[in-house]
């Protein structure tokens, strides 16, 4: 099992979102092990489109960010932890 830590490559916000992903999806990796630029789906973290739905619910609940299925950028937004975080950071509601 590859347990390389990517924590030094993550920004503090990326690390926070990674922790919430691990919690929401019950992933069997730690937040440190999620490479910010690796694909979330398919070969990378191996998530599927039902996990994507969980992620959308999580960012809605925790950051007040909505993402609709007809958003033309959804494929890009879900491509990695980094792109997801960039989207959330740009759209989050001040709490």
């Amino acid at each position: 099992m590859n347990t390389q830590s990517f924590v030094s490559l993550q920004t503090p916000f990326e690390h926070e979102v990674a922790e919430r992903l691990v919690e929401a999806l019950q992933l069997e990796v730690t937040a440190d092990e999620i490479s910010p630029e690796a694909p979330l789906f398919g070969d990378g973290l191996g998530l599927d489109s039902i996990d994507a739905l969980e992620i959308v619910l999580m960012i809605g609940r925790d950051y007040g960010v909505t993402l609709r299925s007809d958003d033309p950028n959804s494929r890009e937004i879900f491509s990695s932890l980094r792109t997801l975080c960039a989207y959330v950071a740009a759209h989050r509601q001040p709490s």
């Binding site: 019950q26 489109s49 969980e54 609709r68 494929r75």
Partner: protein, 303 residues
Amino acid sequence: MSRQAETWLAPERGNHAVMVVMLFLARILGRRVLSHLIWPISLYYLASDGTARRGSYMYLCRVLGRKPTWPERWRHIHAYALTVLDRIFILGSQKSVPPYTVQGSEVIFAALSKGKGCILLGAHVGSFDALRSVGRFAACKIRLRVLMYRRFVGAASKAIEQLDPEYENAIIHIGEPQTMLHVAEALHQGDVVAILGDRAPDMGRYASVPVLGKDAPLPVGPLRLAAITGAPVVLFSALRCRDGSYDIRFEPFAEHITLEGTRTEQAQTLKAWLVRYAAWLELLCRRDPFSWFNFYDFWKERS
């Protein structure tokens, strides 16, 4: 054909030119006459399509508990041909829409009354399109969406589907990151989302549960979806009767699926639900042993 290739994830067979002729004959001859004339097509597929023939044989051995006779093997393929033929009349909404009876429609309305939409869980047993008749003629408006894996749909099927201008709009395509988001939005609006839950994609998550006495992989996706969205799950079947009518039934399955704990614990819960689903699937096969349309290596006996 290679021995590893016998999954359902393969380009569909069927000839576009033959289908154009069938559509023409359907218009001039009508359903009853045409359904008596298509037995040579079933015979041709029995002779020429090795994957379908072996898939049918493996299934018939399990459901009958013995080796099937050649007339039974032909009857199985022929039952499929009749169901495909009926698609022309169901989607074409011509005068000769196949008659049908409905049991348990109150189950759907009770599920929808919770305001979280409804997941209709079916199987590749009998007709999927018969559901469209119910949606079209129901007393109350039901918005029906259909979750489908469409990559390998052939030209012949597309020719049939073009008969119904609404067909494509009702489909939610499997295989995009946003697929399930789309489904969740539909459920949130109170739509009914129909899913056939008996084919596990090669890469997706599945659980092995006994079906007709041997473990087979079934997808956990539909049940995870129900758990996340809170949508109730209703079972759906439409078997073709001997008189050519459809026996459509809706049966309660889960008011709410709750997933808690670690991934491993959740997997056990999902498996327990799939065992129940498989038991229902078996009952369908016992009611009509010739309406099973998973013509591939369902039990992974050859790979």
